[in-house]
């Protein structure tokens, strides 16, 4: 009798723990859904690569689009880059779509944000998906691990200011 009681309690505890674990796994998956974590490595570009590409004369210059916050863009952005709208919001995606509507689908385009750590950026994945759906074949996403300040400005890469 006692052993059945103990075994029943253990089962209940195990079930509760499993539920907690499933909830934890579920929340992690939810946190990563729609984030940069889903962008294939082949479509990513490191800041050092882009800095070198922009520096080299005669190289195939990409169109660089910032798809995050305008306030952050105004403080510092990659020289020559354009602000294209916060892609986490519908208005931002619309602005991005309009900006690239008339471009040749073979144009080399680099998207970046840098508002938040890579896995938590709300803008980069929606921007990437939109550009893919529009048929851009030479699309790269700048892999900013922590934020634009740490991974671009503090590395000494060139910046411009203003809107």
């Amino acid at each position: 009798m006692k052993s059945t009681f103990v075994s029943g309690n253990l089962n209940r505890w195990a079930a509760l723990l499993m539920l907690a674990l499933l909830a934890a796994i579920g929340s992690t998956a939810f946190a990563q859904a729609g984030t940069a974590a889903q962008i294939p490595a082949a479509d990513q570009m490191q800041p050092s690569e882009l800095a070198a590409m922009l520096k080299s004369a005669g190289a195939d210059k990409p169109l660089v689009l910032q798809v995050g916050s305008h306030v952050l863009y105004a403080q510092a952005h990659i020289p020559g880059s354009e602000y294209a709208g916060a892609a986490a919001q519908e208005a931002g995606r619309k602005a991005l779509g309009e900006r690239v509507a008339k471009l040749d689908r073979g144009t080399l385009v680099v998207l970046y944000c840098g508002c938040c750590p890579w896995g938590k950026c709300p803008n980069i994945d929606p921007a990437y998906k939109l550009m893919k759906s529009l048929g851009f074949t030479r699309l790269k996403v700048l892999h900013i691990a922590d934020n634009f300040g740490t991974d671009w400005v503090d590395k000494g890469y060139p910046v411009d200011r203003g809107r």
């Binding site: 089962n11 195990a14 840098g114 750590p117 300040g149 503090d154």
Partner: protein
């Protein structure tokens, strides 16, 4: 049964340890320009808050100020706000003043979240000028602790370790 129980416990511990490590890594990321402000007078700025009241950082001299740069689209930022609101309620009488600076492009989503989270401290709309004063706010959240003399004593880039921040804030308040 015991084995499966142990396995579940082990998995839970591993998941929790991974989350802790991630939090520590983000907290330790430093922006050099922001870190250089430590020990210096907090740059003055004045703005209207979401209720239309003029807020000036200088008016908080004599208080411990927790200055938090955030945005509605920043998940880590939104996670921190309920804790800051509870600290404002609990420690406001002892001289704590939380001040939020939203780096959103527009005020409407900020107002909506302000109401939804029942924020009990002033929030002003930031811009590039305020951001540049504070070393360039080029990733969020960013939090500064300012002492009663108006000096920046701590800087946090990324989601903060709330326990650590609370301990340091209480220290500045002279709490045991």
């Amino acid at each position: 049964m015991r084995r499966s129980l142990l396995a579940v416990l082990l998995l839970c511990t591993l998941a929790s340890a991974q989350a802790s490590v991630q939090a520590v890594v983000q907290t330790d990321v430093e922006s050099s320009a922001q870190a250089k402000l430590i020990g210096k007078a907090a740059p003055e700025f004045a703005r209207e808050d979401l209720n239309g009241k003029r807020v000036s950082l200088a008016e908080y001299r004599g208080k411990v100020v927790l200055l938090n740069f955030w945005a509605t689209w920043c998940a880590s930022c939104v996670t921190e706000i309920p804790a800051f609101a509870s600290w404002q309620k609990k420690y406001g009488g002892q001289g704590l003043q939380v001040l939020g600076v939203s780096m959103d492009d527009d005020a409407p989503p900020v107002r909506a979240l302000y109401r939804k989270l029942k924020v009990n401290y002033p929030v002003v709309m930031g811009d590039e000028k305020v951001g540049e004063l504070y070393g360039g706010v080029l990733g969020l959240p960013v939090t500064y602790l300012i002492d009663r003399e108006g000096r920046i004593v701590r800087h946090y880039q990324g989601e903060v370790d709330l326990k650590r921040l609370k301990r340091e804030m209480r220290g500045l308040l002279g709490e045991p």
